[in-house]
Each structure stands twice: as C-alpha cells, then as structure tokens.
Symmetry: C2
Subunit: 366 residues, 2 copies
C-alpha cells in the first residue's frame, strides 16, 4: 500500500499480457478502484491473474481508455500495432525495458503514433508469471514515459496518470534517450560487473580470499539471472556497445600507462591519476537519497559484536537521538564474528551521534 499518494481516477484499462509486470500493474490499478480487463494468449495465465483479483477476462466490453501491452519484448511491437487497430481511441502503451526499437517497429506495423506512448516501469522480481505478481511492485518506483514525436498531450497525460495510479513516479524522456540512459546506468554496468566477476573464475582461491567490501559491492549484480539479462542486453545491443566502447577506451589507456610505468616511464602514471580524478567527479554526479549528492553525508563507524540483537540495540540508540540516518552500510570483516557498521548522517549530526553512541557503550571508530 502507498497511502500517502493521491490517486488519479482513470477509465477502464486493458492489460495485454498477464505475466509478472502486467498482473502487478493490474493489481495496483484494482487497489485504486480502476476497472481492469485482462487478456493473454495463454488463457491459463489470464485466469490466474483474474483469480488473484487483478480484473476480469476481457470480452466484448466498450473500448478501454488505456491499453497496456505487457508481453515479452520480441512480441511488443506487433501487439501494440494490433491494439492500436482494435481500439482506435485508446491510449496505447507498453512496459518493455528497451524503447526505441519497439516503438519504431510498432509504428512501421501501423500503430497510431499520436496515441502511442512508450513506458518502462523500473521494477522487477527474480521470478516471473502472474502468480508472482504483487499489488505493491510498482510502489515508489520510477516509471519512464517515452512519447513519440507526435503523441498527443492527452495520451501523454493518460500514461502519467497510469503510472501515478500504480504508485510509481513518472519521468519523461525520448525513447532514444531512455535507451542510452539505461545502457549507461544499468545495462553496461551489469555487463561490467559480470566481466569483473568472471576474472575470479580461474583465480587462485587464496587470491579470492583477500577480497574486501569493494569487490563485493562491484560484483553484487553479477549474481543476477543471466537469461533475463541476455534478453535485455540483446534488445539494447547498440547503446550498450557504445558505453562499453567508452569503458574499453579508458581501460586501454590506463593499462598502457601502467605498462609504461612498469617499464620505468614514471610520468605515464599521470594518465591513471587523471582517470581516478574523473571517476570521482562522475561518482559525485550520481544522485544520493532524496536527490542529494552522496558526498554531502558523513559517516560514523561503529564496531559491533556479531550477536543477535546488537543491531537492534544500535538502531534503537540512534532512534533515541534527534539524528536521522541517511544510509547504513555493514562491512563484515572476513571470517570474523564482528562487523563494522557505517552510519551516514548530515555533517552537523556527526558529533551528536558519536557522543550518544559512545555514552551507551558502543565502540565508535574514527
């Protein structure tokens, strides 16, 4: 539930494709009292969704206000075009995670570009199918909306209302921008994480043993489902390859500079320094919590014993102060029964928090 959000009232919505995302959208629309119709080539999936309260199986009702195409990417263009044909007044949108190719193909197949609006709710689960759907899957998630060049304003508004009614936050950009944006911030980093983790496959076990939090952070997403990512990377192939080319170029420059340094050309290290400095600048551009820069917070580190209840005692102590935590990290020390907890707070709260925790007997580190 997302009780703090105002909910727009929208007309009947037809969901074509009652998998995880389609059924979750349907459930969140039903939660807001919206009439939902369900359609799926696999009528069993549609029955499962209807049985979960996601809406009624579509029949010969009046035209829906919005059609949401939530089928696999390779079918999306065709289904969008057919929906546009079948419902000549409805807003036609989809939920695929790559936008430019899908929308262009849909228009080539006859979809009405004035009523077509691409959509990408940025949510998912490790599982698929109607049975895994949840009414809160979209809550507090970004939902990127990509109009065509000629999408009419009322259909853009309908797509926004759809997102808001599902509990998500709409953000608008062009389809090409969307694809480049997700290639940069999601698809290429995913592949980079996998490639880094792949270097460990044949490494000596003793080497891997000294891995710290940095490597753990950088390879966390390498544990994601490879089938899902194969699909995503395949459909957004060119924008991802563009980002990889930039990464490869910079890595080659750095590797060449390091070889030169190893051969005695000490000045070549400047190339590496410059890259490290550029990295720090790039890192500073990533929005932190509530859009703040990550660098605006300071950290208070506490060494905890690894006993049940210790984290509870710590956060209860924090709750007794006036300090609001911005972020928390727990760094486990390899193989040891203890953990360093890093509490991110506003700079002017550091002293208050440190003193409060020390006075309660916590081991606060520098």
């Amino acid at each position: 539930m997302n009780p703090g959000r105002s909910v727009a009232v929208i007309g009947p919505v037809l969901i074509i494709g009652t998998g995880l995302i389609g059924t979750s959208i349907a459930l969140s629309l039903r939660r807001a009292g919206v009439e939902v119709l369900l359609e799926d080539l696999d009528s069993e999936q549609a029955q499962v969704a209807a049985g979960m309260g996601a809406g009624n199986i579509a029949g010969s009702e009046a035209e829906p206000a919005i059609v949401v195409v939530a089928v696999p990417p390779r079918h999306a263009a065709q289904v969008l075009a057919r929906a546009s044909d079948d419902f000549p007044f409805a807003t036609i949108t989809d939920v695929t995670s790559v936008k430019e190719r899908v929308l262009a193909e849909a228009c080539d197949l006859g979809a009405d570009p004035e009523r077509l609006v691409g959509g990408h709710p940025m949510a998912g689960r490790e599982v698929s199918g109607a049975a895994s759907a949840r009414p809160d899957l979209l809550d507090d998630r970004l939902w990127i909306i990509t109009p065509t060049e000629v999408t009419q304003a009322k259909h853009q508004r309908a797509a926004h209302q759809l997102a808001v009614t599902c509990g998500a936050y709409p953000v608008e950009m062009s389809a090409a921008e969307h694809d480049r944006a997700v290639a940069l911030v999601s698809h290429a980093p995913q592949l980079l994480s996998s490639v880094l983790a792949a270097q460990l496959v044949d490494a000596d076990a003793a080497y891997v043993q000294v891995a710290g939090q940095g490597l753990r952070d950088m390879t966390r997403i390498a544990g994601s489902e490879s089938a899902l990512w194969t699909d995503i990377l395949g459909v957004n192939a060119a924008p991802v390859a563009d980002v990889l080319d930039g990464v490869i170029y910079d890595l080659q420059r750095a590797a060449r500079a390091l070889r030169a340094v190893a051969a005695g050309e000490c000045a070549s290290i400047n190339v590496v320094t410059e890259e490290l400095q550029r990295g720090a600048i790039g890192r500073g551009r990533i929005p932190g919590k509530h859009g703040a820069s990550p660098s605006t917070y300071m950290e208070v580190a506490v060494m905890l014993a690894d006993r049940p209840g210790e984290l509870g005692r710590l956060f209860t102590a924090v709750g007794e102060t006036t300090v609001n935590l911005e972020d928390v990290r727990i760094e486990h020390v390899l193989g040891r029964q203890s953990g360093l907890v890093e509490l991110s707070v506003q700079p002017d709260s550091v002293t208050t928090l440190e003193e409060a925790l020390r006075s309660r007997g916590f081991d606060v580190r520098g």
Copy 2:
C-alpha cells in the same frame, strides 16, 4: 579494544616511520604492553607519535626484536636494507601495500633475506600522519605476511605474532602472489570503478538521474582519494595491467557480440550469455561473512517509512526474534521519503522473520 583475542608477548619493536600506519601499529602494540621505539626522519612526527603514547623516541637501546619499516613505498627498500645492517639479529618487516618489488630491491641493497618478512596490514584511513593514528586501526583486519624464499621460521613466527598482537589476522602468501591477489581483488576493481564512474562525467543529467543501486554500488570506491591510489597503482603497475588486459579482452568480446546482434546476427548473443554465466560463477567464489558463500543467504525485504526511529524499531523487532541477521542493505528509492531494507538471513529463518515482522505491522515485501 579487541578483548576476545589472545595476545602474544613479543620483545621490543622499533617502528621506523611514524605516519598513520606506523603510529597505529605502535599504539596497538603499546595497548598490549609491548615496548615500542619510534624513529622518523621527520622528528616532529616522531614527537607527535611519542606524545600520543605510541612509545619512546629511539636512542641507543639494545637491539629490538622486530623492526617495522612503515615509510612510503619508494623509500621502503632502502630503509629495510639499512635496518637489516643496523640490527643483525632482528626480524625485519614492512607494511607497504605492494611486496615483490620492495623485497627484491631491499635484498639487492643488502638486506638479509633470512630475516626479512614482507607485511601488508590491510587497513587504512582517508587521512594520514601520526595525529590520525588509532590503536584499533588494525583490529580484525587481515595482515598479509610474505616471507622471502629463505626467511627463517622464527622470523616468520615473529611477523605472525606482530600481526596478532596488533589485533589483526595474519595470512601468509608469497610476495608475487600477494601482488597478483591485491591487483585482482582490489587494485584493478578500483580502476574499473573509476573508469565506469568517469563515463558519467559528460553524460546528460537526465540519464544519471535514473541511476539505481547497482550503479551506486559499482562506483562507491570511485570516490576514494586519487593521490593514494595513484601511488598504489603505480607501484603494482604490471600485475594491475595484467588484470585489466583480461577485463578488456572480455569486454571487447562482449562489445563485438553486441554489435553483431545489433546488425542482425542474433546468435552472437550467446557470447554475452556465457560471460554473464561466468560472472555468476566468479561472484559465487567471493567469501561472504564468516567465509560463507553469499548465495547461502536469503533476503527479507521491508519497506520502511523514512522517519527517525523506524530503523531502530525494525532492528529491535528483529532482535526480539531468534533470527540472526547475516547482512543488511538499505536501498533508497530515488527522490522519495522511503527506503527498502533487505535483511539477509539463513534460508530456514525466512518464514520466522517475515511472520514476526508482519505481526509487528511492518510492510514485508516478496
């Protein structure tokens, strides 16, 4: 303090170089009651360290049992050789983060390889100098020990005792292995994080805005101090370049495959799938907490309101169960006053924890 550890009694230790690490080692030795002598080219630093209770300024005392050379990497070999000359019976060790070159140069300069033992306490701070030193800096950290091919057993034992007395955990490997290990798990990942973050420097602000937790995790260490990393990467240049070459090779293969897919050669995606699968295998090799594989845990996700005290309430509730938390992650939803908290627990604790939290009114997700 690290009261759970047994502390070995060792003879007088001479610390040459009273910067952050040297003085921290001295303070932790003093904490254990060990006699410490301090020496620094910069007598003011040595005075600061002595004033902090790190030991006495070295004079004409009897020969120390252990000499710890804690000077900048570029001076380490020379100082090791001199110490070996000055103290013909002492164990001679250092703390530099790159080992093979330093030890080889020290031997070339006349250091006695039978008494020489490389050391690398894996700890540091964002600040430097004696005044930033802390007696607990080494607590619960790995301390890699790299004997030469001829280091005598008693000097190896002395290096182990030194590490344990400082509160650290000794791990032994050869100097070359150490350098390749840290290149793989620390130095190359650092550069990769910086290179990825550098791709954001010239990116459209709207693209960067859709960044999620994956990119934040992967670029966290790109915020580290560039001067420090320039030094480290420069001294371990060849092993780092070797790792980068492997990364570049895999990235080029993936980028070529994606270009082929974009050009219509759909089967080329298999190359990408294979890399994703290798990444998952590599990720699975990284030790988790207490040496367990990260994949042995399951996650319970809780959506929290962003109010002071909510985390305290959550962890207090967890503490009231019999469940032990293995890890915690807080994923902030971009620009929103809420956060998803992921609690990692043993698989057989998932149901217990979910039920306990739901019964206390928490919004437990999938």
